[in-house]
């Protein structure tokens, strides 16, 4: 029962945020400060997801070269800076991770 509340609720939440300005509101009617803050949402939210995924893969902070996800993530970031195609950087990151894991045995 609780699961279905969450399932439908997640649908409502994701749809309302997506539809907010496309369907319901004109962004120019909102205060300037709101639109300034909005511009930083992707960088902030994406970093809050990505950084722990690289720096604490086992749930504990590991900034040493022994952390293969950190190095593989850096490799993928370098590729992402060079090429626009996400295929290249995702492939580079996975290949780097598998390579480092194989080296670590």
């Amino acid at each position: 029962m609780n699961e279905w509340v969450v399932i439908v609720g997640a649908g409502v939440v994701t749809f309302l945020t997506r539809a907010s300005f496309i369907v319901f509101a004109d962004p120019h009617k909102f205060p300037h400060a709101f639109r300034v803050a909005l511009a930083f949402v992707p960088a902030a939210v994406l970093a809050a997801i990505v950084v722990p995924g690289l720096a604490m893969p086992q749930g504990a902070l590991d900034l040493t070269p022994a952390n293969p996800r950190l190095l593989a993530g850096l490799a993928a970031a370098v590729v992402a800076m060079k090429v626009r195609n996400p295929l290249g950087s995702i492939a580079a990151g996975m290949v780097a991770l598998w390579g480092l894991q194989a080296l670590a045995g």
């Binding site: 609720g9 997640a10 539809a19 962004p27 930083f40 994406l46 950087s89």
Partner: protein
Amino acid sequence: MLPNARSEFLAGCRDITPVLVGTVPFGFVAGVAAVGAGMTPLEAIALSLFAFSGIAQLVVAQLVAAQSPALLTLAAALVVSLRFLMYSAALSPHLAHLPRRWRIALAYLMTDQGFAMGTHHYSQPGDRRLRHWHLLGVGVTLFTVWQASVIAGAVAGAQVPAAWSLDFVVTLTFLTLLVPALRTRADLAAAVVAGAVALAVSGLPYRLSLVVASMAGIGAGVLAERAHRR
């Protein structure tokens, strides 16, 4: 050649194809995670149809597994969906002339990758009147491949060897979106502060660290922009 609806739609389907290399394993991981959290395959697939958002589905799965209250789970889903507000505001001028049912459909189909592709396509010179068909082609392609991948993951369950580290595709997918989002020093400040705070408060329950870190990052971006203007 004058663009027509059909050619725009097919160009959208074609242009998004390279992205699918990330979509397939990400969807599979999202399906596996939902079933691993104790959902039935049917519930996992329903969640995917309702939310159609990888990160929202993963956050919901994690919080369902932690048996957290429904309201907190939805609050976390809202925070990871805040970036859609920005995407929606950026796309709305291009779509304002369309009938309501078109705007509802394109809003439902909007994703990180679809938004990136859409803003790039609208920035190209030429006739823009039929470009919503391109957006639709991108959205329908991503939707179809995503749902098929989630279903495969939900049915396969936890049979994938952990040594494959397929879950890392999730981090990489968001990394490939993060890098081009860092255009100014203020963007960089927002990302650095959000990342550092996410590590510092990772011990908070119910993935509250994501909420706290995102808000801190947004605040840092606003402050950096103000300092720069002065």
